[in-house]
Subunit: 421 residues, 2 copies
């Protein structure tokens, strides 16, 4: 029954029993963590083959015989370009291979646009206070990159098929609005994938000529159900509207192999990639090519990458199934929470009753469960409705996750009733 249809007495009664349940959790002295959006040990072990290396030519010469121990190949080995090209269906010539962090590549590219501008336009720092559209809930580290670089953040709602495009289109008309940052597939944290309509509107809308969309395809092949989402081909679509230059595409192997030692990539139109390559060639003589070789040897091709991801899915699916089960069983029909069951990615985004997210976070904390800070998924950590919580179910054991989710359900209910009474 919806809580809103319950009488004050019924709510009070329910609160007594929930408080009792809550106190039993609290007194059990648990210490759990639902904040760690990273692979667990079993997932890391999947790629241990990547740790194999010997002092022989096959571990330092690339397929063209280039000695990867030395300087050179500033934009990456051809093997690694080909693998990313296959996985993301982007021509090799439009791909740059970097270090281990795609976040770092995004950061560097936004810094570049600030200091040097793009395609003949003034550097952003010279145009005034530039702004970025930030669909939220979104990825906290995206927002902190923009803030660090001096960009103003504008929140728009993330809907079930991408950002609220009516709002985005209105904002993009401002010439000082210079971009949008997003995770278009299995969005962090909502888990939604941008629809073709959304991608078409992003590609065709009016915007400044140096408006850039940071297309962080972090979870491009990170499916864990039999009905994976399909991300529309952003370069194909934007090319139709003559706006291929609008998108800067990033990804990495962080959650395919090792977050602490993977390979990142950037992709873009011919015009953008030429600028990016030129800038990168001033920034470094080259990234770690030996790690690129090891990765190429291990990942091999798209088919094998898909096989690796299927093994990750085997480990991750039970965790997300557990979220689905416990959240549905615990919260369905109460009218105090909603969420989306994702087909991939690393998170579940839970909206509790307005004004209750911080309270749920505190209740969880006092009970021994760490969660990502309420508000963290919004620009300036400000969730205007104080309702969103990011759940990261990948790192815990299944047992811990189950306990945590039961506690979460209890806290979500408690906070709602506290608010209503």
């Amino acid at each position: 029954m919806k809580y809103s249809l319950m009488s004050k007495e019924e709510l009070k009664e329910l609160m007594d029993s929930l408080s009792c349940e809550y106190n039993s959790y609290k007194n059990s002295g648990i210490s759990l963590d639902l904040s760690r959006g990273k692979p667990n040990k079993d997932q890391l072990d999947l790629s241990n083959e990547l740790l194999i290396s010997e002092p022989t030519e096959e571990y330092y010469l690339d397929e063209k015989g280039f000695d990867c121990r030395n300087y050179g190949l500033g934009d990456g080995t051809s093997e690694m370009k080909r693998i990313f090209s296959e996985i993301f269906n982007i021509p090799e010539k439009n791909i740059l291979v970097g270090g281990n962090s795609s976040l770092n590549m995004m950061f560097d590219n936004i810094a570049r646009l600030m200091l040097r501008g793009t395609c003949g336009h003034e550097p952003w720092v010279k145009q005034g206070t530039v702004k970025f559209i930030c669909p939220a809930p979104g990825y906290d580290r995206h927002f902190s990159v923009l803030e660090t670089l001096g960009i103003e953040l504008i929140t728009v709602d993330m809907l079930s098929d991408g950002p609220d495009m009516d709002a985005v289109e209105k904002l993009a008309a401002d010439p000082l609005v210079k971009g949008l940052i997003c995770v278009p597939k299995y969005s962090n944290p909502t888990g939604v994938t941008f629809s073709e309509t959304c991608v078409r509107r992003l590609s065709s809308m009016k915007a400044a000529p140096d408006f850039r969309i940071i297309w962080d395809n972090a979870y491009g092949i990170h499916d864990f159900t039999s009905t994976p989402d399909e991300l529309p081909d952003v370069f194909k679509i934007s090319r139709e509207y003559g706006n291929e230059d609008r998108f800067l595409y990033f990804s990495s192997t962080s959650k395919i192999t090792f977050p602490g030692g993977g390979i990142a990539m950037a992709a873009a139109s011919d015009a953008n990639i030429a600028e990016m390559r030129a800038y990168m060639s001033m920034q470094t003589i080259g990234f770690d090519k030996l790690n690129q070789l090891r990765h190429a040897k291990y990942i091999k091709n798209k088919e094998n990458a898909t096989k690796i991801m299927a093994r990750h899915a085997e480990i991750l699916k039970p965790r997300f199934d557990l979220c689905k089960k416990i959240l549905h069983e615990g919260l369905d029909g109460l009218g105090i929470a909603d969420w989306y069951d994702p087909n991939g990615g690393y998170f579940v985004s839970l909206n509790v009753m307005d004004g209750c997210a911080k309270r749920v976070w505190t209740l969880m904390k006092e009970c021994g469960v760490a969660m990502t800070g309420a508000g963290a998924t919004y620009p300036y950590k400000h969730d205007p409705r104080d309702r969103n919580l990011r759940l990261a179910p990948t790192y815990s054991t299944l047992e811990d996750l189950e306990t945590t989710l039961h506690i979460l359900v209890c806290c979500v209910k408690l906070a709602a009733i506290e608010k209503m009474l």
Copy 2:
């Protein structure tokens, strides 16, 4: 005999015999390269042990048991911090460990100063057109980093004990002069090491409060003679003058292990390092820690690093000895060239007769020898006296190097006589 004391006839006669020698080189169809400032294959092979890795815990857990395959340890593993700390005699707390490129760390830090400023001062981009002092001949990539980031370059002469400090002190008084960039030990390309007097003047001179010296100690332990230079302790000295914040220190293992897969570091005062760490933590979740582990396992400590460098020296010394021998035999006493015989580093910097560097470069090229572009060692590639050439003797075989140097001596003489006649 000095060419300047020779008669026109004597010079003409000499020119005929030199032209004859030159043509014999030219007709021999050689193809040589004196431009590659990178280790040769024998040097790379020295560190092949670094390529050994197995899928066992010792290759992914750090000394504290942290799983380096995963996210975390944003400023580096403690092993690698300790090794850099020992090598450079800098406290671990003042060290950040990065990716594989110290150039990249310098680039990022200068970008940071541009966009965010430092120690409470306005971002450099908001202060006007900021300028850097560039001792030259210097490292071309330093200059291109500054240019890329929108900084104006001011050339000052590099003398035998560091930059021309009278000129530096005058320039630093301008509040828009925000820094100086240098390789203080075995300077690229002159091979000189800054004297204590120079370091004291750099530490004590009047300058803007946000003036920063990019102290690129690329060749800190890259000695190849029995009389190595000693670089004064910059943090100790600058602390005496209360200007410890003035120096941002960088280095890497690029020429200890592998240029294409080494480990870079930055070091600075407490105040600077806190800012650098905060910025870095927004830029990336962390650099490749697995490579840090492999490096720590291989390099072990300062003592072993010194042993590794002694093996490099065995390979490099004969090359630099050959330079010394052929240049002295060929050019001593002619009054048309001067150079410095370094005790370490990667280059020999040759000053030919004023107005002759480009001509020597062209003569070399037409004869089949590639050299670093004349002027490349100066800001904006403008060598005001057109006299400096950077020789990179490390990569060639000894045989090729010998041939190349004989050709070089011939071309230096030819160009001088052409100029005089």
